[in-house]
Symmetry: C2
Subunit: 248 residues, 2 copies
Amino acid sequence: MNDSPSKSRGVFYGVGVGPGDPELMTMKAVRLVQQCDLVTYLSSDNGYSMARNIAATVLADSNNPGQQEQAIVMPMCESREVANSVYDEAARIIASHLDKGERVVFLCQGDPFLFGSFAYLYDRLADNYEVEIVPGISSINASAALCGKPLGLLAENIAIISGRRGSDDILQTLRQFDNVAIMKPGRRRAELLALIEAANRVDDCCYIEYAGHENQRIVQDIRTLDAQPGPYFSLFLVNRARNYGSTK
Amino acid sequence: MNDSPSKSRGVFYGVGVGPGDPELMTMKAVRLVQQCDLVTYLSSDNGYSMARNIAATVLADSNNPGQQEQAIVMPMCESREVANSVYDEAARIIASHLDKGERVVFLCQGDPFLFGSFAYLYDRLADNYEVEIVPGISSINASAALCGKPLGLLAENIAIISGRRGSDDILQTLRQFDNVAIMKPGRRRAELLALIEAANRVDDCCYIEYAGHENQRIVQDIRTLDAQPGPYFSLFLVNRARNYGSTK
């Protein structure tokens, strides 16, 4: 696809490492993480990276002595300007490795293209470099599995909506869709609980924090959930009550 | 959770094997498929099972001589009565193995709880047996990766809708949501193409058949897609055009 000079260039891989349980990494993710020349990931100011943490065992087993790591430090603020300048600088660093013919992995929690920060690096690099995206298990699928709640059957529909949308939008979605995942409820938890009640879907709903992590928390009956701000990595799963057709 | 007699019972695992590429199986899926006593899966009248096919190499490498297989033959018809009686009989067979303390895996293409037939067995067995669901990569995430189309960024929303819904419903969803996956377009492809055009989303849309399989087909410009019936394993991916905030 590229011009001839690009033939000696490396490949950039956006690799989903899944929601938390390291065993939910795909075999392809494991292979690429272990084989690549450079491993990159977002980290907080204090050096912690959730994605790096999920891949820690796989990296420790790499047996790839030349492998390097590069943390991309993302300050904890909501400024898109700050975020964009971090992505600009990260893209420059990754490009310099790709220009040397190296294979570079960016570790993405969950799935790279489902609310993943990888999209911002993809946007900066895909026009000029070969980029491959390796899908990962999202927290939505992991939460449905943990709660025992099927997301879709037959002709049902499913909505995935940010808890940051307007209230009318969230209420309409809760009324319109059989199954709804509300992502990023965080600080708006109290308001979302009220909207779920207004849509008459309290009985359909469960709440999950940190699916697959050590501090995982599942609340099957959201009547027992405090109306307090919660962590970023949490979601409400609203699931249609249904008759499966069992003759039991 | 169960009474004491259940302590000697086996465990039933609904295992997602991903959309097609065997390397997109998770490490957990591989481990359970290789360790379990009985492997079950749906197959067609002629004995073909897409899920079994995805797991074929992993099964061949099992090194588990006592392992058995049980195909669950699902006739190609749309009768829910026929399907339900097949699931009833399959649940009886699986229960008889669980009663002997065996570990039973049911192989599910994609994710077990995203339009997966596993839900019907779960419904019949979860009240009386320990059941664990192992999420898998869905065709939606795989298709987004293959097409280079992020499904969700920041506060965007996503709808997953069956191509079997009413036209008004599909049109409303296409107008309301930033990103839409239309599953199971199959025989309604011509009508869906007209709806995508009516919603003014032709430029946002790509089409994927058999993601990750040998006969995979990606159509980035749906203007070039024949308005003919297509296979069951296909989907339209409608993706919002967006400004990522790149300063490039």
